[in-house]
Symmetry: C2
Subunit: 199 residues, 2 copies
């Protein structure tokens, strides 16, 4: 049985989701600065006043989306690494998961990467630890692999940067006429990253 309180909180969670969905739509279509809170509220079927119950500003919405995007991408990466056995498998699994996430969530990913510059410095700082954790995850695999000889990586820091950069750039162009299957591109990028690490 649904109590009135539960139903109310479910409706509230639903409005929140609608607002986030509307923000993705608007930010991807015209960019953060050209979007108004009025537009977002309207798209979500709410009044501007009802919107402020959930988010105090457009910046709040942007932060919530970008934090969520970073969290989810990192979780996909970390889960894949945890289940892998040894640096070679970990590298493949990490690149597969990170690529698949960015291909599948290319709209949210685009906001997380390209609208990142529009976060306030304080909000950017609140996400810095996730970005550092993503970098560190990949560097650790490459370092472990270089140490044990499973991988051959002349420049760990730059190779890690290049691999992440390759996966992230997907949000700029995916899907294209030639490539629209997240799993296919993930598998190919795992091959390419393996070559970058001397496999």
């Amino acid at each position: 049985m649904t109590t009135p309180a539960k139903s109310l909180s479910r409706r509230s969670a639903n409005s929140r989701q609608q607002l986030l969905k509307a923000s993705i739509e608007s930010f991807v279509t015209t960019g953060y600065h050209a979007t108004t809170t009025r537009e977002i509220a309207q798209k979500a079927g709410l009044s501007p006043a009802a919107m402020y119950v959930h988010f105090s500003s457009k910046q709040d919405l942007l932060f919530e989306l970008i934090e969520h995007g970073h969290h989810e991408a990192y979780r996909a990466l970390a889960d894949a690494i945890q289940q892998a056995d040894g640096p070679r498998e970990a590298l493949r699994a990490a690149v597969y998961a990170f690529t698949e996430w960015h291909a599948t969530n290319h709209r949210l990913g685009r906001i997380a990467q390209y609208e990142f510059q529009y976060l306030t410095p304080e909000n950017r700082a609140r996400i810095a630890h996730i970005r550092k954790a993503i970098d560190a995850s990949l560097r650790t695999i490459l370092q472990d692999g270089a140490r044990t000889g499973a991988l051959s990586v002349p420049n760990v820091r730059l190779t890690a940067l290049a691999i992440l950069s390759l996966c992230i750039d997907l949000v700029r162009w995916f899907p294209s006429r030639m490539h629209s299957d997240p799993q296919e591109i993930a598998s190919n990028y795992a091959d390419i990253a393996s070559r970058m690490a001397g496999i």
Copy 2:
């Protein structure tokens, strides 16, 4: 001696340059849709009416910048390839030049890549041949290298895409605290691309 006609045309060329410079500034800072032509004119020290002598719309300015960016990046790539001897050297030279261009011109490059979606379909189509020429240049090197055995490339199309993608993603993050030297990053990316092609 400067004739009045020459001086007039020089002043006109100068205004044009000022408008393009002001557009880069505005588009990079707040994005295409949040920028007004009034703002651009003001930054360039011109009246809106004087601006329309040079560009009939904001879309015109965007097109001019993006076409110019694509042209220059392609020219850097093509020049480097032309001077190289054999697929291995051509690959290194191509990646070096394309990386260096995107690092040095990261603001114009950012507009060329991330505001590309805001071109009208007609304007996008007018640039398609440059984008195709860039792809084809890299694919040709990889194909030649695979044929002669100088390179080892399991998937030419995707490796070409990945290498270009890596260079282009520079405009998202360059310069960073760790990397701010275009030549240094160009040299490192040439190494990494060589590994992707089995060298």
